[in-house]
């Protein structure tokens, strides 16, 4: 099982119309080389699941600017004016999800839960169309699992079996996205041999990772 593939091979796993999760928080911890390859390939009609749409010239923001996205599911789009413009013009659909709910919905999908009850969003616009369930006198929203066809994530150090270490705040959504997609592709700042990562501190176990690309950052 050789998981190490080229960036070109990697982006071939992404086709028009797919739902794609991409890690990163304002582009920190985003797999920027995979994103660039995706921009170059020009696949379109993507549904993007991201924390935010980053900036017009950095991270997933480029995919928005390049009009490859038909729908965005995110907690924040304010740092990329093009997302707002396309939304106001009706060119793109935007589903805003509270950040904690976004990560829990992914985790539910990845970890086999049918949903989770969260107090976040009760009595706000967020509750529209959702089931409200009362537990011990308190109201919660039933939030449903959110999964993707492909997840593109970034690791700092990845061994050839797929075990991942993340670095500092570049961790963010990456570990949870790794659980919630059919195909998981990790862009590694550094690829190391199997055995070089202490099994005790692995942050994403190899079984979640389908392919590894060497991002060449190190």
């Amino acid at each position: 099982m050789n998981k190490l593939i080229s960036i070109e091979e990697a982006v071939n796993h992404i086709e028009d119309g797919m739902t794609v999760m991409i890690g990163g928080f304002l582009a920190v911890g985003a797999p920027i080389r995979l994103i660039d390859a995706l921009v170059e390939k020009g696949v379109k009609d993507l549904t993007l699941v991201v924390n935010d749409t980053a900036f017009i010239d950095t991270g997933v923001g480029k995919l928005i600017v390049n009009k490859q996205v038909k729908k965005v599911i995110a907690s924040h789009i304010g740092t990329n004016k093009e997302t707002g413009r396309q939304m106001n013009e009706g060119e793109i659909e935007v589903e805003l999800v509270p950040q904690g709910t976004l990560t829990e919905r992914m985790r539910a999908a990845g970890f086999g839960l049918g949903g989770i009850l969260t107090p976040t969003g009760v009595n706000t616009m967020v509750e529209e169309g959702k089931k409200k369930i009362e537990v011990e006198g308190k109201e919660y929203l039933l939030e449903l699992p959110l999964k993707a066809d492909v997840a593109l994530i970034k690791g700092a150090k990845v061994d050839k079996k797929g075990n991942i270490l993340y670095n500092k705040t570049a961790q963010n959504f990456n570990p949870t996205m790794a659980t919630a997609a059919g195909t998981v592709i990790v862009e590694a700042d550094e690829v190391v041999e199997i055995g070089e990562i202490d099994p005790n501190v692995v942050m994403t176990p190899n079984i979640f990772v389908t392919y590894i690309v060497d991002g060449g950052a190190k």
Partner: protein, 219 residues
């Protein structure tokens, strides 16, 4: 009053709410300034919802780490004894009540403790980010903001913008005063420097209940 002076008053007063051992989340903008005024005598742990506890000051030139930013995307440092984690854990900490207080700005806040700070329909729809989780999850919600926006009251009888959360605000701190959200409405507990009851009433749409112990902010 000078804009920076206004911010300083608010940030200084909010900082007085912090207690030793508290885990605090400071929102982007004005709330971030609170960190500058926390007493050195207490150990307050700042949480950054993008994934760590122990926010330190801005890095020195040449020591920046692109993988270490706060929730506003600014380069920061981590204090000794801090810890990184993923977003799921970060919001578990927030939603689970492990944050003692969150400090945020507001577009509107009302006498029931409702808060609107995430969108203006048809105008500004940046998304709620982590605000909805923070306001629902933190043990204490402190709104830190200028008292009015271009002269218009922001403390209303009832919010008319889409809510961030209903009935979650505990304390409102502005340059004009400190107001606690109680079952009976907003209790004015402190007045800003040089501010009279009449001044603050005139700048506030919501009813203010005047505390028997009303005093001037000590800042």
């Amino acid at each position: 009053m000078d804009k920076n002076k206004v911010k300083e008053i608010i940030a200084k007063r909010v900082a007085q709410e912090m207690k030793d051992g508290d885990v605090i989340n400071l929102g982007i903008g004005l709330p971030t300034l609170v960190a500058n005024y926390i007493s050195d005598d207490i150990d307050v742990i700042l949480q950054s919802e993008n994934g760590f506890v122990g926010i330190g000051p801005s890095p020195k030139e040449g020591e920046e780490d692109l993988d270490l930013t706060n929730a506003g995307g600014q380069l920061v440092t981590i204090k000794k004894g801090g810890a990184f984690f993923d977003s799921a854990t970060s919001f578990g900490i927030i939603r689970g009540g492990h944050v003692n207080a969150t400090v945020l700005g507001a577009l509107q806040v009302d006498s029931k403790g409702n808060l609107a700070n995430w969108m203006i329909p048809g105008k500004m729809v940046p998304g709620m980010g982590g605000a909805m989780d923070l306001v629902v999850g933190a043990k204490k919600v402190i709104v830190a903001m200028t008292h009015t926006a271009k002269g218009s009251p922001k403390i209303l009888k009832e919010c008319n913008l889409p809510l961030t959360a209903a009935g979650q605000v505990d304390l409102i701190v502005t340059e004009m005063g400190v107001m606690e959200v109680t079952d009976k409405g907003l209790l004015l507990k402190e007045l800003g420097p040089g501010v009279t009851i009449e001044d603050i009433k005139a700048a506030t749409e919501a009813e203010l209940i005047i505390s028997e112990d009303l005093k001037e902010m000590e800042i």
